[in-house]
Structures are given as structure tokens and as C-alpha cells.
């Protein structure tokens, strides 16, 4: 038991240290970099808001909030997956010269993204206040985020380790993630479109985003089967991720 604890602590320490370094690297040591993180999702938000408010958003109550929350959560997903897909491949120098818990390379990306997501959440809070929505429902968000992070950690482990074997997977992921962006009800609602509905049943992000919207924007209890599905995908991704990563990591140093 003591060994497992020590290992886990080592993983967290190293992840945090790498995350800090990654953050400093990206911003060359200034806090102004945070503005850039926030700018991208905000621009997309304003653009889509301008285009769709009178069309796709007409029948959606509190459309700006609906849109913003969807964009912020998807942005979190997109950032973690697109960065971690090259986490192993891009750090070949490190992997070839040192023995350290490889999972930390992915863990660092998660921590880094969590940090910038925190600022996005502040923007969301401002919008909630502006729309006179009770912000007390936000206390449920950390819980949702906890499971989302576990889901993404597993998923990122799968992506990062497979890219070592399929070296162009990161290029493929660029358009696959764009397809997911369009297929997920972010700037529109599924409404009565059955085909789209069935497609989204296998889309984990659909559950996480819908649950968050239900609770935070509409103050209503999400449907139980949706929560169960989100939990199911979390568990599946985490177990599969740990299994695949552990299986493949033995050969990382030789294949990159």
C-alpha cells in the first residue's frame, strides 16, 4: 500500500512540475498568456452568438449561456486531446534518456488545462450573474469536472500511446475532433432529430455538456440514465486508457 501511495505521489509531483514548466514555456514567464487562452474561446463564442442567436438558438432558452458553457467544455476537451496526442511522441529526448512515470507527461497537460479552465469558469460566472441565473448551482460543477477529468485522462492516455505506433494519428485527430465539434450539440440543440440523437449516444462529451447545462443553466435534475452513461464512459475510458498505456509504454523508448 505504501508503495502505491509513493508512486501516486511521485506521479502527481512530477505532473505538477512539468505542468508549471509547460505553462512558463508557453507564456515565457508572464501572466499575460492567460489572456490568449481566454481570447480564442471568447471569439468563437461571440462569433457564433452573432450568427446563430436568431436562427439555431431561437428556441433555446438562455441561448448565450447554453452556447458559452458548451464551447468552454468542448474547448477543455479539445485542448487536452490535441496536446496529449503528441505528449509521448514529442518528448522523445526525455523518454530516451530518463526513466520516469510516463503518465506524468499526460498528467501535466491535464493540470495545465485545468488551470486555464479555471479562468474560463470565472467568465462563465460573470455571464450567469448578468443573466440573473442563480450561481449556487455552480457548486455541482467541480463534481462534474472531476469525472470529466478522469474521462479525459484515460482518453488522453489512449491517444498519446497509440500515436507512437500510428505516427500520423495527430494529423487525423485534427479533423476527427472537428467532426466531433460539429456533431455535438454545442451551438444548436438536438431537438427531434433522431439520427443525430442516436449518433450522440456514443459521444461522451454530449453527456457531460448536457448534464452541466441542465444543472447550471436550467436548475433541473439531469436524467439518471444520462448520469449513468457519463459514469460508464468515464470508467471505460479510464480502464482502457490505463490498460493500453501500460501495455504499450514498455516499447516507447525504442519506437520513438
Amino acid at each position: 500500500m505504501g508503495r502505491v501511495f509513493k508512486k501516486t505521489k511521485g506521479f502527481f509531483d512530477l505532473s505538477l512540475s512539468l505542468a508549471k514548466a509547460g505553462f512558463k514555456l508557453k507564456n515565457e514567464g508572464t501572466w499575460l498568456g492567460i489572456l490568449w487562452y481566454l481570447l480564442a474561446p471568447m471569439m468563437i463564442f461571440l462569433l457564433l452568438l452573432g450568427i446563430f442567436t436568431d436562427r439555431l438558438g431561437q428556441n433555446i432558452p438562455n441561448y448565450p449561456l447554453y452556447l458559452l458553457l458548451g464551447i468552454l467544455m468542448f474547448n477543455f476537451f479539445q485542448k487536452i486531446t490535441s496536446e496529449s496526442i503528441i505528449a509521448i511522441k514529442g518528448n522523445f529526448g526525455l523518454i530516451k534518456s530518463l526513466n520516469f512515470p510516463r503518465e506524468s507527461l499526460v498528467g501535466a497537460i491535464i493540470l495545465k488545462s485545468l488551470f486555464s479552465h479555471f479562468f474560463e469558469i470565472i467568465i462563465l460566472l460573470v455571464f450567469l450573474l448578468a443573466f440573473k441565473i442563480p450561481i449556487k448551482m455552480m457548486i455541482f460543477y467541480p463534481g462534474i469536472l472531476f469525472f470529466l477529468v478522469l474521462f479525459l485522462f484515460g482518453f488522453a492516455l489512449i491517444l498519446s500511446s497509440l500515436t507512437v505506433y500510428f505516427i500520423d494519428l495527430n494529423n487525423i485527430w485534427v479533423f476527427v475532433s472537428r467532426l466531433i465539434w460539429f456533431a455535438t450539440p454545442i451551438f444548436y440543440s438536438i431537438g427531434g432529430q433522431t439520427r443525430l440523437y442516436y449518433l450522440n449516444l456514443i459521444n461522451p462529451m454530449y453527456y457531460f455538456i448536457t448534464i452541466s447545462r441542465d444543472i447550471i443553466i436550467y436548475s433541473k435534475v439531469p436524467e439518471l440514465w444520462m448520469i449513468m452513461s457519463a459514469l460508464f464512459f468515464t470508467l471505460l475510458s479510464l480502464l482502457l486508457g490505463l490498460f493500453i498505456f501500460n501495455k504499450l509504454k514498455i516499447k516507447f523508448a525504442e519506437y520513438i
Binding site: 512558463k24 530518463l98 526513466n99 505506433y165
Partner: protein, 245 residues
Amino acid sequence: MKYIERIIVQQLNKNFKIGFKRNQSALARLRDIFNRRFLKRNLHVLKDVSFNVFSGEILGIVGKNGCGKSTLLRILSGIYKDYEGNVKMNGKAIPIIGLGTGMQRRLTMGENIFVVGSLFGMSFREIKKKFNLIVSFSGLENYVDTKLFQFSSGMLQRLAFSIAVHSNPDILLLDEVFEVGDLDFRKKSAEKIKELAKKGGSVILVSHELWMIEKYCKRAIWLDKGKINKIGKTNEVIKEYKKCG
């Protein structure tokens, strides 16, 4: 001091499959499932390598380029996990392989001490405690806030070595570490290595600087094409190694 076997290597064999990198794109991989014609060549890098290293010992390894020295060190340090045979390491092993292990060129030296330190398995508190020791041993006190891309290779190696010896290793695996350092630092590092050995640690020193091996190692291995050609007293091994060019 307890006299223990720090490193035990028994009949170690390592194969590399050369040529599998022909095409690793996703589509090509899918195609290869149906079309199984792989161009593979087996490269037997280490052949039946067996030796022990005791606590308090500095072992030298000599050999030509491509004889398997770096592969051996990578296996010992746990980077390559796929091999045949037995390898047992008693204690924390820290390798220095290649220049600027794990360093970020766009970060300052101080920031790098924290990154590399945690890669070497040190906790944040430990690094903080030893920060000044690391800086002063490296002799780079004036560059703590300088970004590493402006460092020379000698300076990088000083820093890497300094962090490594302060991370409480029981076993140090050094791959051509002193080739870029100046004489002063070599002496200083060699003293540090001796100190580590005295305290019960072990060091493996891979180097082309034969005089350093002769001076600091009692025992040496001559590795040739993946096999141990000779193992024994340093002066005898070096003598024969020199004879064969």
C-alpha cells in the same frame, strides 16, 4: 559500510528490430494487416552480458561506437524495459545519457533545476533544500536566471551532473559525461563520484577518455559488438583494448 551487490546482470540479451519504421502511418498500418511483408532485420545489440557491480565500486566501460554501451546503460536505468535475461538494481539509479537530460532550453537555469530534479524523482521540498548546493557545485552561480539556450554544452553538462549527484542516487550511470567538461570540472566531478562510492554507492562510467577510466576505476569492461570481450582489472583491460586499436 555494508558490502552489497548493487547491480546484478545475468545473461542479458537485447534485440532491436531494424526496418519496422518503413511506414508507420495509420493507413499503411491497416494495409499491412492484409499485406504481411515486413522488411525486418534483427540487430543483436547485447549478447550474453553478465557482470556484477558492488557497492563502493566505480566500474568503467570501454568500447567502440555502436558496441552496445548506451543500450546497456538504458537497460540498467530502466528506459528499455524489453530484454532477455536478468537485471537487478539495488537502489535508486540515475542515468546521465546524452546532453542536457530533460532540460528545457527556453526556461532559466533555476526553473530547470526544478524540472530536472523532479524528473530525477526528487520532491519539490527536497529540491528547494538542495537548490543552493546544486548551483554552487555546478559553478554557475551567475547564470541562475539565464535561459538555457544561451548555455554552452559544457555548462549544460555541469548542470545535469550537479543535479544528478544531488538527487541521492545509489547508482550513477554516466554515459560520456566528461567529454565536454573542462579539466576543473572533471576533477571536481570525479571527486564527487569517489565520495558517492565511499558512501556505499556504485558508479558505471562509460567513456572514451581512457585515462579517466584508468585513474578512477579499479575494474573495467571492454564491450565489443555487444559481447564482453574482457572484464577485470582496469589496466589489463585497457592495455588489451589499446592493442586492438
